[in-house]
Each structure stands twice: as C-alpha cells, then as structure tokens.
Symmetry: C2
Subunit: 161 residues, 2 copies
Amino acid sequence: MADDALFEFLHMEIVALVYKEQATREDIDKERVTCVSTLEAMGFRVGQGLIERFTKDCPTFKDDLDLMKFLCKDFWSTIFKKQIDNLRTNHQGTYVLQDNTFALLTQFSSGKQYLEEAPKYLAFSCGLIRGALSNLGLESVVTAEVSLMPSCKFQVVIQKL
Amino acid sequence: MADDALFEFLHMEIVALVYKEQATREDIDKERVTCVSTLEAMGFRVGQGLIERFTKDCPTFKDDLDLMKFLCKDFWSTIFKKQIDNLRTNHQGTYVLQDNTFALLTQFSSGKQYLEEAPKYLAFSCGLIRGALSNLGLESVVTAEVSLMPSCKFQVVIQKL
C-alpha cells in the first residue's frame, strides 16, 4: 500500500531535522559540509545494518561486479521499490549506478528548478551504498550527481588496499 | 526480506540524532522534554502523511471505533509488520492499544533492565497515532506505557471539541 511512503516521509524528516539543528548553531561556514556528512554517516550505519540482514542466507559473491549487481537489484528494490536502471563500470573499480526516477527526488518538480536542493537528498543514499559495501569488505568513495530531476547517478570508486 | 529492518534502523538513527544534538546544548534541564517532543512532532507529521495515502481509496469510517480498528490493523501492519494485539475502549473516547511485541522495543533485552530507556523509543510512535487521527478529524492525546519489554500500551484519549 504505502510502504515506500514511510521511508520517504522519514527521510524528509531526517533531512529537515539535520538542517534545522544546524541552522540554530553559529558556525554557518561549516554548516553545509556538516549536514551532508551527518546524513552520510546515518546512511552508512543503516546500509551496514541492512546488508547484514540481506546477505544472511546469501551465497558469497564471485567478484565485485557480482556484488554491485546484487546492490543494484535486491538491495535497491527493498529500499527504493525499484531497481537501478543502468550499471556501468570501467572494470578498474569505478561503477556508475543510474536511477532514472530516484524515489527521494520524485517529489520535486522535474527539471532544473530545484537542482541546488538535490545534494541534501542524496547524502543519506550515498552513505547507504558506502555502508553496504563496507560491510562486505569493500572500502569505497561514493558521490552523487544530478543533472535533471528526478534522475540521479551514483559514482562508486572502490579503494584498493 | 528486510523491509521492516529499514524502518527500525532509521528510527534508531533518528532517536540517536535527536538525543546527540540535545546533548551538545547547554540547557540540560529542558533536554529530556525537548527530545521527546521533537520525536513526537516528527511522528505526527509522518502519521499525517501516511494516513493520507492509506485512506485515499478508502470508504469513510462509520464511527470512531471503526476508525481505531483500521488504525490497529492496516495502519499498524504497514508500519510495524504486525497488528495491534488488543484494543479496548470505555466507549467514551478512551482507547487502549496493546502491542505485545512492539517492533521498536524488540531489540532490547526482555524484562525490566532497560525500562527507563523506553520512552525515547515510544515518542515517535505516539506522534504517528496522533498525526493519523488528526488528519481524520480527531484531536487526541496519546501516551505510551511499558511495564515489561517488549510489550507496550498506547492510550488514546479523544478530545471533544
């Protein structure tokens, strides 16, 4: 029924809370960076917890690409109720995950009008991906890019140890 | 698969964030009250939003009891993946909803050990109920009571206009 709505509403509340708390502080300079990293860290922990449940009865993955495919299908579907639309890789540890109708951006008008608001609503999800990968033994840097709402690209760069 | 885990993890993050933010402030006296009401207000808005989606294609309710039953079954199931176990009323506007294994308390050890931590984890859900009722035209006061984890009673008192 409205399962997906629960996550979307909670996510909106979290973003609003993080930005509101920061606005009452004095160090406005640091504001934007702190908020994004607070949200990213929350996503990281949630991603870690979720992947642990997801992969409990799973076979191991045969390589990084296999793992990324699992993330794009099963992991993404459970959280965002749809799969990633396109997965690309350079086969050297960089992956681009494209979601053409990213659930957390669909409430905005399409187009470029609210483009500068987008990073607020992507930080948590970058953390989700990074947390999931981290729990599976892959350290990564995850960034997001929006050029036209509600489509979104996540870039994952696996860090070689 | 792990749909319910997503909500539980997010909820834990929210509680942790609200209490952490408050801990960095100076007015320790007000601390506990403010945190609970911040969480309650977040739950209120989420409850309002959710009930709007839930009841979009629903017939209207024939009376308050009918509405409470809907809340105990459909609304509760979607959020907490189970129904309320017991609903009581004095037929004068007071309802007691009992959940014997309340999802947000099951991660604690059973019994009385962490009883004083419980209110943190109930405020959001009190808000959920109050928000849902409010959007259906009923103003209410919602409180929660735990005597033995993970069982929990929510008391709803409808305010006569």
